[in-house]
C-alpha cells in the first residue's frame, strides 16, 4: 500500500509539465556551478601544487557543490511538499484515501517515500557529475559517499517537515511559505548564533556540515533520523485528528 501511494505520487509529479521544468532548471544550475568550481580549481591548481599537502579536487569542487545543493533544496523542497496533503484536501481527493482500507501511517509513509524517490533522481545527478572527473584524476570516494548520504538524510528531514506543515492547511501556498519559513528560521538560527550556542543543534544544515567534510558522525545521523521520524509521526497524528475534528 505504501508503494502504491508512493507510485501514484511519482506518476502525478511526472504528469505535470512544471515538474520537468523545475528538474531542467535545477540540473542547469548544478551543472553551471560545477563547471564554475572546476574552472576555479584549474586556475589555482599550479599554486596548489606548490603546497606541501594540497587539497584535492574532491574537496575543492565536490564539497562546495553539495553545500550549494543543500541550500537550494531547502528552498525547493517546500515547493514540492506543499502539494502533498494540502492540495489533496483542497481538491477533496483526500476522501478517497480516508475511505479506503489504509491506515494513516500508510498514507503518510507513501507520500514521504514518493517524494523522496523523486528528489533522489534529482540528487543522483550530483555524484554522477563529479564522477566524470574520475576520467582524468583520482577522486576521494569516501568524501563523495559521505556527502551523498548526508544530502539524502537532509532531504528526508526537509520532506518530513514540509509534509507535516502541508497537513496543517488546505492552502498549498501557505504550506510552502510555512515550510520555507521554518527551514529558513532553523538555518538563520544556526548561522546567526554564537559558536557554542545550543541553537546550532536544531538546524539540519548544521548537522550536514560534518557529512560535507566527509565525516560520518553517528550524532548527526541520529539527528536526521529522529527529526524525520518526529515530523512523520506528527503528520500521522494530524491526519488522525482530521477524522476527529473534521
Amino acid at each position: 500500500m505504501i508503494r502504491l501511494i508512493a507510485m501514484r505520487e511519482l506518476r502525478s509529479l511526472f504528469a505535470m509539465p512544471s515538474t520537468w521544468f523545475v528538474l531542467a532548471v535545477l540540473q542547469f544550475i548544478f551543472a553551471w556551478f560545477f563547471l564554475a568550481r572546476l574552472e576555479a580549481f584549474l586556475e589555482i591548481q599550479p599554486q596548489l601544487a606548490e603546497i606541501a599537502n594540497p587539497p584535492g579536487v574532491t574537496i575543492t569542487v565536490a564539497a562546495p557543490l553539495f553545500n550549494t545543493a543543500a541550500l537550494l533544496l531547502m528552498m525547493l523542497v517546500p515547493m514540492f511538499t506543499m502539494r502533498l496533503i494540502a492540495e489533496e484536501r483542497r481538491n477533496q481527493t483526500l476522501a478517497l484515501l480516508l475511505s479506503s482500507p489504509l491506515s494513516d501511517t500508510h498514507i503518510v509513509l507513501g507520500k514521504f517515500f514518493g517524494l523522496l524517490l523523486f528528489l533522489l533522481t534529482l540528487i543522483i545527478s550530483l555524484p554522477l557529475m563529479i564522477y566524470t572527473l574520475a576520467l582524468g584524476t583520482h577522486l576521494d570516494g569516501g568524501l563523495l559517499l559521505g556527502n551523498s548520504i548526508g544530502l539524502v538524510l537532509l532531504t528526508a528531514s526537509y520532506i518530513a517537515l514540509g509534509l507535516y506543515i502541508s497537513s496543517l492547511t488546505t492552502q498549498p501556498i501557505i504550506a510552502a511559505i510555512g515550510a520555507l519559513a521554518v527551514l529558513a528560521g532553523l538555518w538563520l538560527a544556526d548561522i546567526g548564533a554564537p559558536a557554542d550556542s545550543p541553537w546550532h543543534q536544531f538546524s539540519p544544515l548544521y548537522h550536514f556540515q560534518n557529512f560535507n567534510a566527509g565525516l560520518l558522525d553517528s550524532t548527526d545521523t541520529a539527528f536526521f533520523i529522529l527529526f524525520t521520524a518526529v515530523f512523520l509521526a506528527l503528520t500521522v497524528k494530524r491526519l488522525h485528528n482530521n477524522r476527529i475534528y473534521g
Binding site: L4, M16, Q92, L96, S99, S100, P101
Partner: protein, 336 residues
Amino acid sequence: MAIQLLIRVYILGYIQGCPQLPPPLTLSNATPQITLSAQNLTRSFGNQRVIHDLTLQLKRGEVLGLLGPNGAGKSTTLQMLTGCLLPGSGKIEICGINLRKNPMLAKAQIGYLPEAPPLYRELNVDDYLIFAARLRGIKDVTEPLKLVKQRCGLESVSKKIISMLSKGYQQRVGIAQAIIHRPAVIVLDEPTVGLDPSQIRDIRKLIRELGDTSSVILSTHLLNEVESVCDRVQIMQHGKLIYSDSSLRMQDYGKVSGFLISLRNPPALSELESIDGVTSVEQMTQTQFRILHAPEEHTGSLLLSLAAQNGWQLEQLSPLHATLEDVFVKITGENS
C-alpha cells in the same frame, strides 16, 4: 445436490462482495442481509451538535435516499458512514464488521463518491481507476477495469487525462472509482449535481442497476431523484431523522382530495362552493378552478352530473396529486 448448493452460495458470496460467506442455505437466509447499520450516531463540530442520535439500516439490494434541505447533515452522515469522520458516539457496522474496531476490513466493503468527485486530475482515466482498485486491495485489475468502464460508459475516454473531461464524464469516473471493487455498500453524495438531463437519466439508471447487487445510499435534495431511484426515503433536518418510509408511501403522506376542473361556461364561484362536500374553491384562471373536498365524498360524480345539467360545458376534470415536493415541505414544516 448439496455440493451444488454450496457452490452457488460461494459464488453468490463472491459476487456480493462480503468477506464472510453466508452459512449453508436455510430458509432464514432468504431474508435480505443487512449490509450497513448505524446506531445512535452523534457528531459535534466544536460546541455545535450537528447530528443527533441517528440510526439507520440498509439491506442488500436496497437503494436508500437520504433527503434533506441544505445543511441538514447529510454529507456529515455519509462521511461518518465511510470512515472519513469519526462519530462522537454510536456504532457503525459494515457487513457486520465494526468500522471503528476493524477499519481496514470494513472499508474494503465501501465505495464512496463524495460531493466533489475525488479525482487526480493529472492522471488518465485508466491509471486513476487502476489506482482506485489497488487501493481497495484488488490484485488483478484488468477484468474489473473493463467491466466498470463498460458499465459507466467510459470506454471511449479511457486514455484521456481526467482534467480534460467534461463534468458529466468526471462524475462518471467518480462513480466508477466507487464501484470498481464491487463493494457491498455504495455511498453516493449528491451523484447527479451539475449534470445535464440526459446524463442525470443515465446515472439514475446506473444507480438503479447497482441497487440490484449492492446496497446504495445516496443523499440528494432533488425530490424526483428519490421518486425515480430510491426504494426507501429518510428525511433529515437539523441533524435528525424526521421521517422514514418507502418512497411510494411518502406520496400518500400528504394526500389531498380535490380536482382541477375546467369549465367553458363557468357558474358563479359561490355556486361551486355550495356543492355538497366541497371545502374550498380557488379560481385559477377565467375557466379553471381548483376544488378541494372532504375525503370519502363522491364529489367527482356530483360535479360531473351538475355540469351536464346546468350546461357548464365541462372540458377537464382531473384529480389532484400530492407531489413529493408538497410532502417534503409538509414534513419538514411540521418538524421545524
